[in-house]
């Protein structure tokens, strides 16, 4: 019983730590868009190129958050069953 509780607690703590990874991309995307606004203010003719590059850049940045998010969900839904079966 105690072993199961420890496994569950470990998975829950791990999931919480993994989800911290989701904070960074949000801040990064916001910062990038802020800088893009400033750049377009200086050079309005570069709007098209800038939008395209930033769109793909934001998608790449977001993947890091998705990795952490998926890891967290796997720790909540899948890992406890596997670890408890190993006991």
């Amino acid at each position: 019983m105690l072993e199961k509780a420890i496994v569950m607690a470990g998975c829950a703590i791990g999931a919480g730590l993994a989800l911290i990874a989701g904070v960074g991309p949000g801040i990064g995307e916001g910062y990038a868009v802020g800088k893009a606004c400033e750049a377009i203010g200086r050079q309005p003719e570069s709007k098209g190129d800038l939008l395209s590059t930033m769109l793909l850049g934001c998608a790449i940045a977001e993947t890091t958050g998705i990795y952490g998010f998926v890891t967290g969900l796997l720790l909540i839904f899948v890992a406890p069953g596997i670890f408890i079966n190993l006991l």
Binding site: E29, G30, Y31, V33, C37, I40, L55, L56, G65, I66
Partner: protein, 144 residues
């Protein structure tokens, strides 16, 4: 709000790449003899949401840039990211919780847009500018 041509074009690229990779994923399931209804339904949900997520990201970027205000754009983008992640959490939890979907095929397509962009980079469709080149150009302008 009118959707800009750039957003439509990039969403189309990502959609094609995601659908191709989803087809490859289903092919692997078929080869392994695991292709059943939950796998197909999960793939439809996962890939559909991945494409929709990218399109909404494009709309958010377009809207944030259109504000012209750095602080407001920053806040809008952060809010959009949080909301999109929240909806993604709902979709993926559905994939885990409901027996109608296979969670593997719901989760994997969320990573396909990144793989598509990597593929585009390899094919030369999208080349991020090198920092060195930018700095050299700036230095050249200063010298002139």
């Amino acid at each position: 709000m009118k959707v800009q041509e750039t957003v439509k074009k990039e969403t189309m690229h990502i959609a094609v790449g995601t659908l191709l990779l989803t087809a490859v994923m289903l092919l692997v399931f078929l080869v392994l003899g695991r292709l059943d209804q939950p796998v197909v339904l999960g793939a439809v949900l996962g890939s559909g949401f991945a494409i929709l997520n990218f399109f909404v990201l494009g709309l958010s970027v377009q809207k944030s840039v259109a504000t012209g205000n750095a602080t407001r754009g920053k806040l809008m983008m952060t809010l959009s990211y949080s909301l999109r992640m929240l909806v993604m959490m709902g979709v993926v939890v559905l994939g885990f919780a409901l027996p109608y979907f296979s969670w593997v095929t719901v989760v994997l397509p969320q990573l396909f847009p990144r793989l598509t962009i990597a593929g585009m980079q390899m094919l030369g469709m999208y080349k991020p500018e090198k920092k060195g080149e930018d700095e050299a150009a700036e230095e050249g302008e200063r010298a002139e």
